[in-house]
């Protein structure tokens, strides 16, 4: 009997340890989620969604992706926000053509397993109120946030303000929050929709991408196929170019699976990108196939239909009206501040040119053949029998390279010389020539001829199976909301978001000022932040504008 008792004791101890370990691991996964917040829950098409994200502790920096997905799992649009000190903020511009319905906002990182979903209602501002009497909503679950801390005190808020009046309040934070200087607070004052409040829901998914890619930068990936066999092609050279005043250039060589992957960092906003490939042995024709976008329907949370309340329908109508008036009066809701691109390179990737020619300083020449004969010393461009050739003089060896040099148009390699043969001096601002044998990694360039113009126009380069042109969404640039009105006395002020301060440094007492708009109704002050323990705290208060 003693033996059995001791056996049971050991067994219990082992099971307890196992349970504790499982509980700890499980808890770590659940609590390490995104805090995803928006300025409102109800929007009209054409408006901006203002977003604040507190990232999990495992994502202190990098990029967080925000996707707007329809209730059926189709991706509408996306934004990539830069994460600093475990937080990020940005916006999504809603397309005007968006149909009315429930949409889901998702925050995720490329390599992380944590995701957070938030539901929103977007009404099409042209079609008016929704025809259907029901709309899908996220089924009840465990909200990711909403841990209100009572110790956040909002002092000095009046119950009602008149329209276009100045208001202010004091925000008193408990010392344990105020001393965390690395944290940031977000303060939002926006229109309150009675009877429609949404929450965020955390989801843990399977690991998506190779963790070595990291969470920073924008990724372009795909596969190179043999056009004839449709099999992945090994040893294809894939080049990525970003046309710019100092163009970006990357290349890679495919392996057995024909895969290629590029990571672009230090780019902001929408950037034009050209991806092209070729067989270095010049035997096969290839095809670029970009990776399919992520399938959202697999991780889509469960949605259940719910009827519209009378209040919600009223608010949707008011919301559409406000959005339409703002559009009529051409009042900008948000201004994007251009962020200067941090140049990764001091000089172009083709090296410091040995000669620079400005063709516009000379007489008009109708084509590149004439330009090369008259203006480009030691560059031979000949166009006989529709088969142009280009050669550059090698100053290191004192003879002409036998191979075709690297020909660039605004930084994009041009492999078919027919694309540029009709270019005259009016289309070219600058020609740079490098007269030595250059190397970029394993790529060899027998001289370089780089043509550029101020418009960065690459329309002469034709798209094909081996060359694709894209416009990529890189990291979102900084922005400012509610720029001052052009005629403040004459125009109605139709701001639905009275204040959006997504990154305030916490202090024990903070004075917050705002100004009400011409809109009557309820407004909600929302304070959100992330504590030292990784938990999200928030405080809310509602006031009326009459």
């Amino acid at each position: 009997m003693v033996g059995i008792k001791s056996e049971l004791k050991v067994e219990r101890k082992l099971l307890t340890i196992l349970l504790l370990l499982t509980a700890l691991l499980g808890r770590a996964q659940v609590t390490d989620t995104f805090g995803l917040f928006t300025d409102r829950d109800l929007y009209a098409s054409g408006e901006f969604i203002l977003i604040k994200v507190f990232t999990p502790t495992s994502v202190p920096s990098g990029i967080v992706g925000i996707d707007l997905v329809s209730s059926t799992g189709n991706k509408v649009t996306a934004a990539f926000l830069e994460v600093k000190d475990q937080q990020a903020d940005g916006f999504i511009e809603l397309p005007d053509s968006l149909s009315s319905g429930t949409y889901l906002l998702r925050s995720s990182t490329r390599t992380g397993t944590a995701q957070t979903w938030k539901e929103l209602y977007i009404a099409n501002r042209f079609k008016g109120l929704p025809e259907s009497n029901a709309f899908p909503r996220l089924s009840a679950g465990d909200p990711a946030q909403g841990i209100n801390v009572q110790t956040i005190q909002l002092e000095g808020i009046e119950k009602a303000y008149s329209r276009k009046a100045n208001g202010h309040f004091l925000l008193r934070l408990p010392p344990e929050i105020a001393i965390q200087k690395d944290n940031s607070l977000s303060v939002c004052i926006s229109r309150e929709v009675q009877g429609y409040h949404t929450h965020s829901f955390p989801v843990i998914v399977d690991k998506k991408s190779d963790p070595s890619i990291g969470n920073d930068g924008t990724i372009i990936e795909g596969t190179i196929l043999d056009q004839e066999t449709a099999h992945p092609f090994k040893n294809a050279v894939v080049m990525l170019s970003v046309p710019d005043s100092v163009p970006g250039f990357k290349y890679c060589t495919t392996g057995e699976n024909g895969r290629f992957i590029f990571k672009l960092t230090n780019y902001y906003g929408k950037i034009p990108v050209v991806v092209q490939c070729y067989d270095p042995e010049k035997k096969r024709l290839l095809k670029i196939v970009r990776s399919n976008p992520e399938n959202f329907s697999a991780s889509l949370p469960t949605l259940v239909n719910q009827e519209f309340s009378a209040d919600l329908l009223k608010m949707i109508a008011k919301n559409i009206e406000s959005a339409n008036y703002r559009k009529i009066f051409q009042q900008q809701e948000l201004v994007i501040r251009p962020k200067p691109v941090a140049l990764a390179e001091k000089y172009p990737f083709w090296g410091v040119p040995s000669q620079v020619i400005y063709p516009k300083l000379f007489i008009d020449l109708p084509n590149f053949d004439e330009i090369s004969r008259e203006l480009l010393p030691l560059v031979k461009f000949r166009s006989y029998n529709r088969n142009p050739t280009l050669q550059v003089f090698n100053v290191q060896r004192n003879n002409f390279f036998s191979d075709q040099p690297l020909l660039l148009l605004n930084g994009v390699p041009v492999r078919d010389l027919n694309d540029i043969k009709e270019m005259g001096t009016r289309e070219i601002d600058r020609i740079e020539i490098a007269q030595s044998e250059r190397f970029n990694g394993n790529l060899r360039f027998p001289g370089v001829v780089a043509i550029s113009n101020r418009k960065l126009d690459c329309s002469r380069i034709k798209e094909s199976d081996e060359l694709i042109k894209l416009t990529l969404d890189a990291v979102q640039p900084p922005y400012a909301i509610n720029p001052p009105l052009e005629h403040p006395g004459k125009e109605p002020d139709l701001r639905q978001v009275l204040l959006w301060q997504p990154s305030l440094k916490p202090e024990q007492t903070m004075e917050i000022n705002f100004r009400t708009s011409d809109i009557r109704g309820s407004f909600k002050i929302t304070i959100r932040g992330k504590g030292n323990d990784g938990k999200i705290f928030s405080g809310e208060q509602i006031f009326e504008a009459n």
Binding site: G3, I4, E7, L8, V10, E11, L14, I17, L18, L21, L25, K207, D210, P211, S212, I213, K250, Y251, C252, K263, A344, E345, K346, Y347, F349, G351, V352, Q396, R397, S436, E437, R438, F439, N440, G441, N442, R444
Partner: protein, 257 residues
């Protein structure tokens, strides 16, 4: 319990207990392994494509050394943007102040664009790691140069390993060709401070003492005497400099050599 269901089986009890421990142990190992598996994946090298340069064309050979090392040796290059590229075959050309890289995949010697390099280090044939920094020199013949870092600190001791081609007595080279020029070392040593710039220094006791306050010079002499350091070459000078730095005897930057 087990005896009630399996009477007389004296082996069952210990086996059951052991197997439980084994199962739980295996489960824990599996859990740990799954959480570590992500860390085992090695990061991809995104940087090798970033080396840019031109083909190196060998120049005529003369007596003397025009390279820091006899052959290509392993090294690391830090590009201007801070990108570090390791495991490269490097060779520093002292004559042209150029960094050469042997690309084994395309079997080519590449002269890396100087403008793209921030610093580099290579391990010479004796196993010594030599660190070079690219800096702008604003003295006679200004320009960007590779300086070898002999001692780092607020006041760094640098050497510009310049080799020049000079006339010399006539000699026959390996191909029985008659030549009258040879590579000669023309190294220049400098004290460098990022704010105050460069100050030349000679490898002798007088020059060393002149870099310290008069009140410290006695102590400098004493330390050199006690450690039996005779300033006759680069090694002894570097040793003395390090010894003085470790004794917190700091030079006065800006005094004449």
């Amino acid at each position: 319990m087990t005896e009630r269901f399996f009477p007389g089986n004296k082996f069952l009890k210990p086996i059951k207990m052991k197997s439980k421990i084994l199962y739980i142990g295996t489960l824990l190992v599996l859990l740990t392994a799954s959480s570590l598996s992500a860390q085992e994946e090695l990061p991809k090298d995104w940087n090798t494509e970033k080396i840019k340069g031109i083909r190196f064309i060998p120049y005529d050979h003369y007596q003397g050394n025009s390279y820091l090392t006899e052959n290509f040796v392993p090294g690391v290059v830090v590009l201007d943007g801070g990108i570090k590229i390791a495991n490269l075959n490097l060779r520093y050309c002292e004559y042209r102040d150029e960094l050469l890289y042997y690309n084994a995949e395309i079997l080519t010697q590449i002269n890396i664009d100087k403008i793209s390099i921030k610093s580099f280090s290579l391990t010479d044939e004796n196993g010594v790691v030599r660190i070079f920094r690219q800096q702008f020199y604003n003295g006679f013949i200004p320009g960007n140069r590779f300086f070898e870092l002999l001692c780092d600190g607020d006041v760094a001791l640098l050497v510009y390993r310049k080799v020049v081609l000079q006339d010399c007595p006539v000699y026959y080279d390996e191909t029985r060709g008659l030549k009258n020029m040879s590579f000669q070392n023309a190294f220049s040593y400098y004290l460098y401070n990022s704010k105050k710039g460069y100050e030349p220094i000679a490898l002798d006791k007088k020059s060393l003492l002149s870099k310290f306050r008069e009140s410290d010079q006695g102590q400098v002499r004493k330390i050199l005497r006690e450690n039996k350091i005779r300033l006759k070459d680069e090694d002894s000078f570097v040793k003395a400099w390090k010894l003085l730095s470790s004794n917190n005897i700091l030079p006065v930057f800006g005094s004449k050599p």
